[in-house]
Subunit: 406 residues, 2 copies
């Protein structure tokens, strides 16, 4: 039987055994105070790999290259990433550059080009400066505690890195799952990109990893993925190198659910960190929906709440304006009966069976002044449930986004 | 043959012949400087009627009563409206109150309750004060030039009235079509409600009016209707009393298309006025899409552009950030090929066949500093086209909406 999921203090992507990382500054990103704009990750041994990418009809050629690499079905050894330029909206040159970036990185990592994934994030419409990319590959030193440097090199408008790690005992073997992310699918669509990399030293069969990842993404990163959120470059990849020495996990393993739960936990933590660091955000918003007809309906309701401008504005003002929740529920497209709906703000019931419950406004306002505002919804129809994450809308968001390129 | 559509300077809903209106202040709306919060409209004779209402799953009982009235299939004589309280989120009492409001107004108008439509707009979760509603009905004086007073009585966070009128010659008879609206489907979902009333003195067969109205709404008010926009009370009704004396228009009339075009023009004008007066708005945004696979795809693209927070923020900052247009196009869900896309900002081509076109940035910034920013998109696939309307996102929006009820 699997043990409990333990959070690792200060976990970075290199907390997983057998992974090295490094980063450097070559001058692609001009607006960052954190002088890192290129990074690489290397596994000592070949990794099972799975990926989930943007649903946009207009994608970065870097995404196209990664899709091809993963579709080829082989294992991978590492990845290269740059921030500052997204390699999108540049015509055919973008594909050529992405392929060359993989080749250059392969030399630096000492592996084959088809074993390297490539990622870019930053402004759209500018070509990658390949001379600088080559310079970066040459300069980067890969070290066992290089995870935080990699995290810093991916940042664009991020004000802090997003990193986490957990460990869990699977059939007697302790395995690590650790991850790093940048951007926010919901908040930074133009900046362009949510990038998320997960490394694990668990041995995981590639078919199984690919089978579970879309589902894990749907309940985590894609629950932050609403509205203005699908960039040209959004990517999530998981690399599993087996350094922990466990019996490889597949769909039939007793501990398959435990591995999936631990992977989900890593992504929940990164999703929360992305939401908390949304542009201009002052608070995390969590919507927890229960009692929906099914999971898709629960997700519709949860995502509608956290993506509503009026809900986001009300949270900023610590305003328990439940009329806006009613509005969001009603327009979500989910099945509901007004007379069955219960609503909660940070655990305080404000509507029961569709009717307002008198509540102590000052107490709820005080709760809403904290760092996290949770909206609870019970539709009391069936057992569909879902959680979504977002952040409040502040004047700062408008200030940041009303003059980005000019 | 129908003549051209002429705009009537200073047109109000009572510009159409045979309609009277009036308004008063009874104290339901406490936050307005414009002292009007109840209004009524009366036609001298029975009217063909058609309506389009909110798609929300949670609707005001006033909407339910109007749906029942219209479904009964009879003609109507007038309507009553209050601002300040939405009659939504109040349990079963809301239906009782809406029915009573119709009965009270019927006495005041001298018609039957089933000939009266009822509308409410304002805060959710508060019961209608029926004593004040009765007082309003008793006080309102109906006059031939009462349209502007009615418009003022419907306002909530609106900073100005939305009114327009056109005339058109149909088969030798001049007819008037005039309208009034409040709120903004897109901008004021919680305030709750976009209300729009159209009156025409044209004789129009009810079946025809009901057949064309959803289509007209889809290309006008519903192109402002995105994202946070479906309130519990959104309503559009058209009343046609035949006072112009034209041969009644039906689906087979030679001038049926001309009537539909004139009705569409009235709704385009009101849609533009609603967008211009969005909360905190400083500019109107228009997205004109051509060359889509079909009209639904064109509408997806147009609506995605005008509802994007990043596009709205960029317009506020007069920032020609076309990467955000690419992002919006890509995530719209419409079919497209990157290499065929042309983009324009206020008529200046900034992307052709999927590649950036060098443009004079200062000149485009200067164009974007005007009152109206138009994004042109040609997908060059087929002949689907659509227009959407919206407004920019400003710090003022956040300020207004972060403390509304508190």
């Amino acid at each position: 039987m699997a043990g409990p999921i333990e959070h690792i203090d200060g976990g970075t992507i290199t907390t997983a055994q057998g992974f090295k990382a490094g980063a450097t500054y070559v001058g692609i990103k001009t607006f960052s105070e954190d002088k890192m704009d290129m990074g690489m990750l290397l596994s000592d041994t070949p990794c099972s790999v799975a990926g989930v990418f943007t649903k946009s009809a207009l994608v970065s050629p870097s995404v196209t290259v990664n899709r091809e690499t993963i579709a080829a079905g082989g294992t991978v050894r590492g990845l290269v990433v740059n921030s500052g330029i997204a390699n999108a909206g540049v015509g055919d040159q973008g594909y050529t550059d992405a392929k060359q970036m993989a080749s250059l990185a392969a030399v630096g990592l000492g592996v084959k080009p088809e074993e390297v994934l490539v990622f870019s994030t930053g402004v759209i419409g500018v070509e990658l400066p390949m001379t600088l990319i080559k310079k970066g590959v040459d300069e980067i030193k890969l070290v066992e505690d290089g995870g935080n440097a990699l995290a810093r090199s991916m940042m664009t408008t991020d004000t802090r890195t997003k990193e986490t790690g957990v460990k869990v005992n699977l059939a007697g073997t302790e395995v690590n799952i650790s991850g790093v992310a940048k951007g926010s699918g919901m908040i930074h669509p133009n900046m362009a990109t949510m990038l998320c990399f997960v490394a694990t030293d668990a041995a995981v069969e590639q078919d199984f990893l690919r089978a579970i990842l879309p589902d894990v993404a749907d309940s985590t990163l894609n629950m932050l993925d609403i509205d203005g959120d699908t960039s040209t470059n959004d990517s999530l990849v998981v690399l599993a190198n087996g350094a922990a020495g466990n019996t490889p996990i597949n769909a039939g393993s007793e501990d398959a659910p435990a591995f999936k739960a631990a992977l989900t936990e890593v992504l929940v933590q990164l999703t929360r960190q992305l939401a908390q660091d949304g542009e201009g955000a002052s608070k995390l918003i969590v919507a927890e929906v229960h009692g929906a007809k099914d999971i898709p309906d629960a997700r519709l309701v949860a995502k509608t709440i956290t993506s509503s401008l009026l809900v986001k504005s009300a949270v900023y003002g610590s305003d328990p304006n439940w009329g806006r929740l009613i509005m969001a529920l009603g327009r979500s497209g989910a099945e509901m009966a007004e007379s069955k709906i219960d609503l909660y703000i940070n655990g305080v019931c404000i509507m029961e069976a569709g009717k307002p419950v008198p509540f102590h406004r000052d107490a709820v306002v005080a709760l809403m002044r904290g760092d996290e505002v949770t909206f609870g919804v019970n539709l009391n129809l069936a057992d569909g449930k879902a959680t979504s994450w977002g952040c409040d809308l502040t004047e700062e968001y408008v200030v940041i986004n009303s003059a980005y390129t000019t």
